[in-house]
Each structure stands twice: as C-alpha cells, then as structure tokens.
C-alpha cells in the first residue's frame, strides 16, 4: 500500500463541510416535505399531516395531476381565479420592483451627491423611519387609502413603492457615494443635468445594488400576505398569496393538503428561478475599471 496524506485531508474536508451540510438539510427539509406531500394521494397526504409515518424520500406513485387540480380548483371559477391571481401577482411585483429601483436610486443619488441645506438631517429622519414597525402605520395607511377610494384595488400595493423605502435608499446612497466624483464631473461636461447623470451614469453603474434591491423586493412582494389581505377583497383582485389562503379555508382544513402544497410549489418557482439567475449579479460588481484603481 502506498502511504498517503489523504486521510487527514479528507477529515478536514469532512469537518469543514458537516456544518454546511447540516445547515443545508435544515433549510431544504421544509421544501422537500412540501414537494413530497404535493405529489402524494389525498389520503396519504392527510395522514402525513397527522404525523403518520407515511412520507417517503420520494413518493412511489407521484401524483403529477395534483398540480393541474390545484390550479383548477383554486377560487370559485376553475382556472380563471388562478390566472387572475398570477396576473395580479406579476403586475404588483413588477411595478413594485420598478418603483423601488427608480425612487430609491434617485433619492439615494440625491443624498449621496447633491449638496443641499438640511441634507444630513433629512437623511437621519429617513433612517429613523426604519425603526417604525409596519404595524404602527398599518391603520393610518389603510384610512388614507380608503379615503382615496383605493381599497380593493392594486394601487395601495404598488404606489408606495414609487415613494422609496428607507433601507433601499440607504443601500443606494452608500454605493453611489463610492462612485468617483470625476465620472459625474465628466458627465456634467458632456452636458448632463442631475437627472441625466442619474439615468445615464449612476443607475447603470448601480447594477449590483439594483440586483439586490430587485431580488429582495421581488421575494418580499411576491410572498407578501399582509398587505393584500388588508386591501384586496374581491377574488378577481387576489394575489397568489391570498389565493393560496382562500384555498386553505375553502376546504376547511386538512383534506386537500396535497393541493395546497402543489400550489405552494408553483408559487415558489419564480422565487427560486430569480435567485439562481441573479446569483452572479450578487457576487460580481460592475464598477471595476472605471478609474485607475
């Protein structure tokens, strides 16, 4: 036998990976459970919910039709209710992302680069709003939107995004503060005003922050349950999160847990895809090479 250092290398490797693997298992367990239950028959899924020892690593006879059934049976009109909810979710999410990116980058740019009286004070005030729990503003906001006649429309979910959010503005401000002044001066010499600088130079350079802000906004809005629950009342206005909930109450409990899980999987797919697609942007910055480093 040839002596080798391999055992020690393997051990270090193993010890280093054990916590990571345990963490991954912990994170993936609910997803796996959801996927498996979504492919079980109604009876076995019901038993799984009661803690019966029926869940296998992979179902013996996957019930793929559960997915079609779930999409058909959500709401009061077959298919239409699901498609409505999907469309609403897409409209709200896309609008929120666009609104958040535009408003937060613009305000962040102003805080980072425009010298104006009271800038520091206003920035502090804005940061202070982060300390307010959402529950505190919930009722005043509802009253405000009701007085505007926006209840049971998508507007209360979309419009606030166009007025910025403290944390995202903070992210943009920090990033924009790092953009070399010379680039903006070159832009001014090339004929750009403040808005031009923001749109043509600052925003394209902010891609890494924009990716983060967009992904977080997407995940938050797509999965948001509270705001749609407060503002949306008619079924045609439901988003997917609310539609899922209606599914659960509609069947009063555990009977259709396999369908609920199937629809949950469907709802999650865009989040997973987006995360995979944006992973590169998270890691890679665009700013390198702009100026001599």
């Amino acid at each position: 036998m040839t002596p080798t250092h391999a055992p020690r290398g393997v051990l270090t490797h193993f010890l280093r990976h054990v916590p990571l693997i345990l963490g991954a298992v912990l994170m993936l367990f609910p997803l796996w459970w959801m996927l498996v239950v979504s492919l079980e028959t109604e009876t076995r899924a019901g038993m799984a919910m009661l803690g019966g020892d029926v869940v296998q690593v992979w179902p013996e006879d996957p019930q793929w039709h559960n997915y079609a059934d779930a999409m058909r049976e959500v709401g009061s009109t077959p298919w239409i209710a699901f498609l409505d909810a999907l469309a609403n979710s897409i409209v709200v999410t896309v609008s929120v992302i666009v609104g958040t990116v535009l408003s937060c980058s613009l305000v962040g740019f102003a805080f980072a680069r425009v010298r104006f009286r009271g800038r520091a004070g206003m920035f502090l005030l804005m940061l202070a709003t982060m300390m307010l729990p959402a529950q505190v503003t919930m009722i005043p906001l509802f009253l405000l939107f009701r007085s505007m006649g926006w209840v049971d429309t998508l507007l209360p979910l979309i419009v606030p995004a166009f007025f910025g959010s403290a944390f995202n503005i903070f992210l943009y401000r920090q990033f924009i503060a790092g953009i070399p002044e010379a680039l903006l001066e070159a832009g001014r010499l090339d004929g750009l005003g403040w808005l031009g600088l923001w749109w043509r130079i600052v925003l394209p350079m902010c891609t890494p922050v924009t990716a983060i802000v967009a992904v977080f906004s997407f995940i938050y809005t797509w999965n948001d349950f509270m705001s749609p629950l407060i503002y949306l009342h008619s079924e045609s206005n439901y988003t997917l999160a609310i539609a899922l909930n209606s599914f659960r109450t509609q069947y009063a409990g555990l009977e259709d847990v396999h369908l609920l899980m199937a629809l949950s999987v469907v709802t999650m797919i865009p989040c997973i895809l987006l995360f995979l697609a944006a992973q590169k942007q998270f890691i890679e910055g665009l700013g390198s090479g702009a100026v001599k480093g």
Binding site: L183, G187, L189, M205, V291, K292
Partner: protein, 369 residues
C-alpha cells in the same frame, strides 16, 4: 480655439480656505500652458473654475470673447481629461467617445424639431459623428479596441481613450488635470511627446496641470508657477529656469534644486550668515539678500574661486553630483566627471548667481556672469 482670460479670480472654500487668491492670467489662443506647483497650490482649482466645475468666489473668467462666469460647464465648449480618466465603465470605448457628441446632438435635435429642419440633416450628422470618432481613434491609435470596456484596457490605453473623448468634441480649450500622473515613468515620457505632437497638430489652446516640474518644463510653451493660491511667475520654461522671479520659483524648478544661502550684500560681495564670503560674478546693490546658485553653475576651478571640501560624490557617468562644504555651508554641484575624491579640498567658481530679496518673495535682482 480661444484665448482664456482670468481677472481677479478668487476661490474661497467653506471654512475660509483660500485656494486661489486674486489670480490674473491670460492664456493666449493656441498655446500650451502648464499650471505647475506643489500640491494644494490652487492649480487644479483654477482649472476646475475654467471648466465650470467650481464657481469662482469673485473675479471674471472669459473664454474667447465670452464671459463664462454664469455659463454651465457643458456650454463652455471646453473638454477635460481627468487624472483618473473618468471613462464611463458601463460603456465600451466607442460609446465613451460617442457620448459627448450624442449629448450635443440631442440638444440640437430639440432645436431642429422646433425649427422644423429635416431628417436628412440628422442622418448627415450621424455620419459626421461616426467620422469624428473614427478620426480620433486613428489619431490616438485606439481603433483596435473600440469595442472593449474600460476595465479591459491598460492604463496607457485608458489614457488615450480619455484624450480621445476630449478630442472628438473639438473644443475651444483642452483642460488636462494631471493626466499623466497615473502612468508609469516610461509611458509618461512617451505620452508627453504624444501630447506635444497632438498640440502641434491641433493648434488648440491647452491648459495642463501638473505638480511635476520636469513634466511642466518639457511640455509647456508657457509655465504658470503657483503656490498657496498665488501666481509666482508666468513665462516660458527657459525664463522660469534662468530668471526665476523669486526664491520659491528658484527652489521649485530644477533638479537638484538651487542652492539658497541667506546673507547680506556689502560692497559688491556676498556675506553668508554662516560666515562664508562669496563674490557674485556681477555687481549688485547692498542689503540683506538670499544668494541662489544652480548646481550646474558651480564648478571646480584652478584659478581663484572659493575654498571648498568635497563632502559627498555621486558619479552618474556623464556627470557627477558633488556636495561641497564651503566653510560650514553645504552647496550642491553638478559638474563634469573628474578624479575628485571625498574629503579633497578644491577651489570652486560660481558662473551664474541669482540674488533675491531677503524675504524670499518680491522683486528679483539677478546677476549673470
């Protein structure tokens, strides 16, 4: 092309920091002018005020016939090359060159819409823009990487693109803010020559800022030597070198720097504070003074001269840098190679001496041998 005029231009930053104090300067049309001085002397601020990136606290700046104090940077018809190049990182080289032209066209597009001029004129303009980019790219030899992004270029290539971006605009005045200081020594010397030849070809007014006196001497038609926001001397390199206006200019220009000795002139002879007595080559008026002697104007001599001892010697092949001790006063000298040894006593002669007022500033009294 245009003349640039500064009249009483002052810049005071918040906190009462005076960056530029009552600066009067005329930069003639087509001249290569170099603003030079140690860091913090106000040279960059002066340049930025001409560009419109800083507003003068008081005074007037004119480019050509036009007073530009209230004109925004984009309308001043100046192009600036930044020390950090300031290339847009999200645009490739070609887009970087096109950007300033497109911006201008957009403004004229609005005008053409209002005045009702046709589409033909616009497409002709697109062709013209393409030609200008191609011409600038050829001139600076950057055609091969028009489609690369700034991050994919070397320092020298980025520098050329930055120059190209100024070039395509065909501005009245080029403003160059330490454009060579990020390059390595070899490339810097090559780019100096290119800048000179570019200036010869274009015949444009160029204002270059640097803290490097050697770069200033080799590049400029005219040097503007500044310190603490004040212009100390304006003149061609030879004049700055041969007839420095004051002690600061004398010590700033030249390597190794000029020897400056405090003392007093009596009866045509210079009595240094340290006790040395030197005889300047020509008669000057009596009074407290500072004697300035360039190292290359000191040489060992056989007849007469002042007694000195060689303190240290650096042999550089074609020349020799020697520090002489003249009765307790050290004097640097650059002379012909010889058999001189450390500790050896020789007599030295001074060919040219400059005499400045004791304060170091103010009027100059210079004597030549």
């Amino acid at each position: 092309m245009a003349e640039v005029r500064l009249e009483g231009v002052t810049k005071i930053f918040p906190g009462d920091v005076t960056a530029v104090a009552a600066c009067d300067l005329i930069i003639p049309d087509g001249q290569f002018t170099v603003l030079v001085g140690p860091s913090g002397c106000g040279k960059s601020t002066t340049l930025r005020m001409i560009a419109g990136l800083e507003t003068a606290t008081s005074g007037t700046i004119a480019i050509g016939e036009r007073i530009v104090d209230d004109v925004p940077p984009r309308d001043r018809d100046v192009a600036m090359v930044f020390q950090s190049y300031a290339l847009y990182p999200h645009m490739n080289v070609e887009q970087n060159l096109r950007f300033p032209l497109e911006r201008r066209r957009r403004t004229s597009f609005l005008k053409s819409l209002l005045s009702g001029t046709g589409r033909a004129a616009r497409s002709a303009e697109t062709v013209a823009i393409g030609k200008r980019i191609a011409a600038a790219a050829t001139q600076l030899e950057i055609e091969d990487y028009l489609h690369r992004f700034p991050r994919e270029l070397s320092g020298g290539q980025r520098q050329r693109v930055a120059l190209g971006r100024a070039l395509v605009r065909d501005p009245k005045v080029f403003l160059l803010d330490e454009p060579l200081s990020n390059l390595d020594a070899k490339l810097r010397i090559a780019m100096r020559a290119e800048l000179r030849s570019l200036h010869r070809r274009l015949g444009a007014t160029m204002i270059h800022v640097t803290h490097d006196q050697e770069e200033a001497m080799t590049l400029g038609d005219v040097l503007v030597v500044m310190k603490d926001g004040v212009i100390h001397q304006v003149g061609p390199p030879s004049e700055i070198y041969d007839r420095p206006a004051d002690r600061f200019v004398a010590s700033f220009v030249g390597t190794p720097p000029m020897n400056l000795i405090d003392g007093e002139v009596r009866d045509g002879r210079f009595f240094a504070t340290s006790g040395v007595v030197l005889s300047p080559p020509a008669a000057i008026a009596d009074g407290p003074a500072v004697l300035g002697v360039r190292p290359e104007d000191i040489r060992p001599t056989q007849d007469g001269g002042v007694a000195a001892t060689a303190q240290s010697i650096e042999r550089l092949g074609d020349r020799m840098d020697v520090v002489f001790d003249v009765s307790g006063t050290s004097m640097a000298s650059r002379c012909e190679p010889s058999e001189l040894e450390v500790g050896q006593s020789v007599a030295i002669a001074i060919d040219v001496a400059h005499v400045f007022d004791a304060g170091g500033c103010g009027a100059r009294r210079s004597t030549r041998g």
